[in-house]
């Protein structure tokens, strides 16, 4: 019932109160000194060499995307492996059909140059 969740609600209120208190205290009590080296993006003493807004190659997106697709497909092997002894030969054949389809996809990517880096 709803009353079962009362401890959770109390807990949430306490968390919010403590966090709010800590943030407010540090905001009020902490000394604030603003000078140049403190406002740099990376505060630990390393001097920035060039601006952060520069162009980066996102060439890896294609590889990453292909990896994720095949990764997700490969997940289907786990439940299949668990119940293989129930599925018998039907399951084996079915999985080979599935792998054949994946293989066609891989051949397509390979041949069309999806795996070339340069």
């Amino acid at each position: 019932m709803l009353s079962d969740y009362a401890p959770l609600a109390i807990y949430a209120v306490i968390v919010l109160a403590v966090v709010g208190l800590m943030l407010t205290l540090s905001f009020v009590l902490a000394p604030v000194k603003r000078y140049r080296s403190k406002l740099l993006p990376y505060e630990s003493g390393i001097v920035p060499t060039d601006p952060a807004r520069k162009r980066m190659s996102v060439r890896f997106y294609l590889t990453a995307m292909l990896f994720i697709i095949f990764d997700v497909e490969a997940v289907f092997f786990y439940p299949w492996a668990v119940i293989l002894h129930q599925l018998r030969w039907y399951g084996v054949i079915e999985m080979f059909v599935f792998m054949l389809i994946l293989l066609v996809a891989l051949a397509h990517i390979w041949r069309k140059g999806g795996l070339e880096w340069e």
Binding site: Q86, Y90, I101, V104, A105, A107, H108, R111
Partner: protein, 498 residues
């Protein structure tokens, strides 16, 4: 710990299940062969060979579906996750037919526009596999699988002309809105599963009774799925993406998308709402009635002011989604059969109209302004006459198929008590006559003095398709009794046990 049920799955069962999804298998095999062929053959041969393979695959799917329909072989398969019933077979034949037309039109179009041929055909095949799975779905899981397969293939097809900005815009908009709609559908499905404990539609149909109407999970599920479905059939107020996507996508893709996606989405609505959640009728009917009314008004009024033929046809598609929803709302044998009949006729008239527009495109771009049609009847009499047939049919003039379709939909609507909606539908179709006749005005206007923007290239393929679609659009009128009978057969599986 749940004890796993021992499932015995015999070889005979495996073969019979495979036969139930025969048309889907045929298209899938064609798809895989096409991909391999595209990799192995020399460059010049790839396009034509892939096109031929696609046509062979689709025609064999059509033949298998027709054979099984005639012999009444349909039934559930794969633990009721898929069904090869008459409803599925009807739609599988429809998608195979559209597929053949689309493949022929695309083949000629990509050559004229200088695009790569093979991959577009493969994507079309993938979309058709998705649509067929959607029509054959026996479970919410299969519904979502089919929905995603068709959507993802179409997102890519929309951006196929990737050096052109409108095509990119079309793909991006469709991807974002389509992904959004899919998320709605999926969340709705999750809630339905939460309320009923099953994804199999026939189980949902027995577990959801009219008593469970108060269950908030079910109501929220219906609402979310209804919103997602309305996005997919491009019904107002969820139609905003339609004109932009239709305008930017390559013309054959637009033509294919405008008819096939709509038919697939309506198959999904009929399966899930009319069959699975039939007892919750009063709940989803409120939602769909509002959407239907909004679609008819918005679609017909917005179509009037468009300058581009693609956008006009997009809004006309919104309006037609509204008409078809009347049949969905009416439900029952008559309503579902009317929906099937209308979809079958609509496919040919709308695809034909788009195919005519596609002949106007050249290397420079697509000719989709009303002015590009000027004097078409004198430049190419066949196209001119058939464009008039399609427009008259879309406007609902007898003896075209569009007239009979509207008659069946509206009579079903009235006998189910949706009189106000039918009155609105009739009034708005009167409005639609204006913009359809505006096309006729340009087609039959005298040849322009200035040279026409687009001369005809090698368009034999599209002309064949236009002829085929024209023959269907005219002949289905007198044959409407037969087609309605097929539709009634197709409706039967959705009504069993009720």
């Amino acid at each position: 710990m749940i004890a796993a049920a021992q499932v015995t799955y015999t070889a005979a069962q495996a073969w019979s299940d495979l036969a139930q999804i025969g048309p889907i298998v045929a298209v899938t095999v064609a798809l895989l062969v096409a991909v391999v062929v595209d990799l192995l053959l020399p460059r010049g041969l790839r396009g034509p060979v892939v096109t031929v393979i696609a046509i062979v695959g689709l025609v064999s799917a059509l033949a298998i579906a027709a054979y099984r329909l005639v012999n009444g072989y349909g039934g559930p398969a794969y633990f009721r996750f898929v069904s090869g019933d008459a409803f599925a077979l009807f739609f599988e034949m429809l998608f195979a037919l559209i597929g053949v037309l689309a493949v022929i039109v695309s083949s000629s179009y990509v050559r004229r526009r200088g695009l790569y041929e093979a991959e577009l055909q493969v994507l079309t095949l993938a979309a058709i596999v998705g649509m067929m799975s959607l029509a054959a779905a026996g479970s919410l899981v299969t519904v979502f699988l089919g929905l995603e397969l068709l959507s993802i293939a179409l997102y890519v097809s929309c951006g196929y002309n990737r050096i052109e900005l409108p095509s990119q815009e079309s793909a991006a908009k469709y991807l974002i809105i389509g992904g959004f709609a899919s998320a709605f559908v999926l969340y709705g499905m999750a809630l339905i599963y939460g309320a009923t404990g099953t994804t199999v539609l026939s189980d949902i149909a027995t577990r959801v009774t009219s008593d469970s109407a108060g269950n908030p999970l079910l109501l929220l599920g219906v609402l979310l799925m209804g919103v997602g479905f309305a996005f997919k059939v491009s019904a107002a107020p969820f139609h905003m993406w339609t004109p932009d996507v239709y305008q930017g996508a390559p013309l054959p893709v637009t033509a294919f998308m405008s008819v096939a996606t709509k038919a697939a989405a309506f198959a999904m609505i009929l399966r899930v709402f009319n069959y699975g959640l039939g007892h919750l009728g009063p709940e989803w009917q409120v939602l769909l009635a509002f959407t239907a009314a909004a679609s008819m008004v918005v679609g017909n009024l917005m179509a009037i002011v468009q300058a581009s033929l693609k956008r006009m046809l997009a809004y006309s598609g919104v309006a037609h989604a509204g008409y078809i929803l009347v049949g969905v709302l009416a439900g029952g044998r008559a309503g579902v059969a009317a929906v099937l009949f209308y979809l079958f006729g609509y496919v040919f008239m709308n695809f034909g109209a788009f195919a005519v527009v596609s002949t106007l495109s050249g290397p420079a771009g697509d000719g989709d302004l009303y002015e590009d049609l000027n004097g078409l009847a004198y430049r190419n009499p066949t196209l001119g006459v058939l464009m008039s047939v399609f427009m008259l049919s879309l406007a609902g003039f007898p003896p075209m198929v569009g007239f009979f379709g509207k008659v069946f939909l509206f009579t079903a609507g009235i006998s189910a008590g949706w009189t106000w909606l039918v009155v609105l539908a009739v009034l708005t179709s009167v409005v639609s006559v204006y913009y359809y006749f505006r096309v006729l005005f340009h087609v039959w206007s005298p040849l322009p003095e200035a040279p026409v923007r687009f001369a005809f290239g090698p368009v034999r393929g599209p002309v064949t398709v236009v002829l085929l679609a024209g023959v269907f659009a005219v002949a289905l009128g007198p044959l409407s009794g037969f087609l309605l009978q097929v539709g009634l057969n197709g409706a039967a599986p959705l009504l069993s046990g009720r």
